[in-house]
Amino acid sequence: MGKDSLTLLKGTLDVLILKSLSWAPLHGYAVSRWIRQTTDDVLEVQEGVLYPALHRLERRGLVSAEWGRSDTNRKVKYYELTEQGVARLASQGKDWDRYASAMNKVLGATERPL
């Protein structure tokens, strides 16, 4: 953490959430844990920030949510990707790829500007 952590780019959080839900419905805490572990804690962000984002995605119809009971019989809200969410993830993934490859090309460039 600390020095090496990257600033959370705006909109990135949405992609991360959508990706985390692409395998199975999860509750908020699980989403948070998955993001932490997958990114090796590089993206430093206050964990609470996740919840307004989840609710915004729900409002926009990208995820749906249901309340249920956890293994420990706690009230838990599960989030699930909707069809719209799947489509959004796919399109954002493509955008991200294009952006990343462009950046790679730039950073790996060998020719000096004319």
Binding site: T7, L8, K10, G11, L13, D14, H27, G28, Y29, S32, R33, E44, V45, Q46, E47, G48, V49, Y51, P52, A53, L54, H55, R56, E58, R59, G61, A65, E66, W67, G68, R69, S70, R74, K75, V76, K77
Partner: protein, 876 residues
Amino acid sequence: MNEKINKNGAPVPGNVTDEVAFHLEMRTKELIDQGMDPAEARAEARRRFGDVREVTVATQREDLTGRNSERRLEFFGEVRQDLTIGARRLIKAPGFSLLAIAILALGIGANSAIFSVLNAVVLQPLPYPEPDRLVQMWESAPERGWEYFSVSERNYVDFRDSNETFENLAAVAFSSYNMTLDGEAIRLDGRRVSLEFFSTLGIQPALGRTFTPEEDALGSESPVAILGDGLWRNRFGEDPGIIGESVVINDTAVTVVGVMPDGNFYFDDAEVFVPIRAGTNVNRSDHRLVVLGRLHAGVTVEQGEADLDAVAAQLAIDYPESNRGFDTRVSALYDSIVDEDLRQALYVLVGAVGMVLLIACANLSSLLLARATARHREIAIYAALGAGRGRIVRQMLTETTLLALVGGALGVLLAFRGMDWFRALDPGRLPRFETLAVDGTVLLFALGATLVTALLAGLLPAWQASGCDPQDALKDSGRGSSSSTRTRRARQALLAAEIALSIVLLAGAALLIRSFLQVQSIDPGLDAGAVLTLGINMPAATEEEMEALPGQYRAMLDQAESVPGVLAVATISGLPFGGGATSMDIQVEGRDHGENYPSAFWRLTSPDYFEALGIPLLKGRKFYDEEGDGRAIAIISESMANSLWPDQDPIGQRFLAWRDPERTLTVIGVVGDVRERSLEIEAMNIVYLPHLQMAGWPNMYFVVRTDGDPAAMAPSVRAAIGQAAPDRPLTDVRPLSDVLEDTLGARRFNTSLLLCFAAVALLLAAAGVYGVMAYSVAQRTSEIGIRMAMGAGASQVVRMVVKQGMAVVGIGIVVGVLAALATTRLLASMLFGVSPVDLLSLSGSVIFLAVVALAACALPAIRATRVSPTEALRDT
């Protein structure tokens, strides 16, 4: 709201709080599993989560926004949400909100009130159809000092009949009449008007008709009149049957043929209109008419003047005796009603009050900046959540607009109060002032001012707050970070601007106050205190009546003199400062003046006039009653004596009044100069003639010197004069000091307003200084604590803080002085005896403001030294 069916089919109610609690619990468990102490784990989980309350609120907000709404609906939803949240926040910070609303109400109220004056006096078009074709014309003989001179009747007839550019040219003469109504005599303000009066202005009687050409024809004697709306309402009970009835005016039965409409017409304050029958007065040198014209469509004012000049040139050839040297002046009627100086004065006031609003804006902006710093983290969270900068700016602007609207509404209420205040201030001769009102235009202006204010005051804080870096904001406490430095800088800049604007206003107000004092300190040449004035109208139609007049006046004077407390009584044909003027050309006997005949005001007086008004008799003697009739004598004013006979004794000198050899007068006395027209205008030459020599002059005033309060004496003096002339109504009964005060009306109005604005500006600026310094001191509590712990004395700390504050004030003052130097020129036409660049006014303003600012700086500084070092340090 978040109730859903759970996987087992039973509803499980849940909300954001549950969700957050679950997260914290799981996270704590995970950290304990990693080997952390439970208490420590709980704290760490919370730390990593961020502010629980803020997250909960932000999440609930997302829910509130509504699902699957269309974009536009979403927008309005967001606006409503912004409003709800904004209102809630403002209610939660009542101190801030009330202060902001008060500042706004003051700023917008003052602006709306002044705008309503501008609207009534300047912006409103004249209430006639196609008003831009309306003009007023004058005859003009600049070599004789008569740039704008009334028109003589015979000349009017020639202008009317020989011009080619006017649709109509109308003549109006002011006169007053006595009407006998149910046995009571009342004095009526009347107009003699030509037939064209109605067609020129484009007005029609509300009832009945205008005059017929026959009724207005030269030589006609058909007794007809049109009643004014006010007279008809107040005295005739709005009886439509009055048309065709006869009323008694000046002891003659007159048939009412019409009633004028209600409305704000420039000439409608008259109570009765009669046909003028222009040309009856054959003396071309007797200039008395106001002439109004309606130009043909497409004709300019200049073309109209050129056309009338051509007529005037022909008249000068045909009647050289009376018309040589005369041409004409024509100006738009609007310009002659609302003159340039007045417009300029009002625009100066509008500019000044606009500055007050700018200061209010800066003040509010500064308050909002301070508040935005406090809300730093909240905003940072929104930003981190992906709320765009635009959305955050909008949320904050919504809040400011909400404040501004409440402030603006209160401001409009203030403006309504302001109308009463303005009327009480009575700016005297301000044209169209009676139409002053908070109307639709003013309300629209107030709304516009409110929105502009909200935008001006809110944009900078909103932009700055929304631009903060979320990481930065969420991590630290907001103190000492780069954005709080930016906020401080911005507030200091705003403060300097406030100070600068205040200096300009203070300097302007100081200049006007100095002018006012200068004018007030001028010696009018008479002692107006304890003098009561009364007007009377004594028309004499027949030779018999003429001969009776001197006796009647003597009787009235004797009656008034016998009232206990009356020291001296006299008659005069025109009151000093009363606005009326009668002038004549004169020629010193045997002297060739070339073309430049001296002119003088003339006044008819009874013997005790100088005594009654305290005008010193410098040489010679006063009049006596017995000599008036037939003997050609005059008393003249000092400056007239000095200019006509600089090296000779004026007593016994002879001159031709009206340049008429048959009116050769001998000077028997010289009296002190009187500034008859107004304190600001140098004394004119005045020729006093014994009243009874020209007793036929219909409009006279009594001046009564009393030994006490002249207003209190009014009833008994009135009754005494009434005994001698029971059927003659007395008008304008009031102290002479009031008449004098009236001439100061417009000046007092301007000065009071500008002073008021400067005071508000000073108050706002002081509040601004205090606010910024209190904030800065609060931010530096720990630093101050450390300094004091290290042995810095209280006075040292105070000095440090004050120095910092006064540095900003100093910059504001420098800018303000430069701005004042550049702008006070605009006041030039409103100043008297003071140069627009007046060192005393400027330095006085600077010192005054500096002292106030110093106090506003010192207060928070002194408070800072009272903080104990331990407390201050704990706060870090």
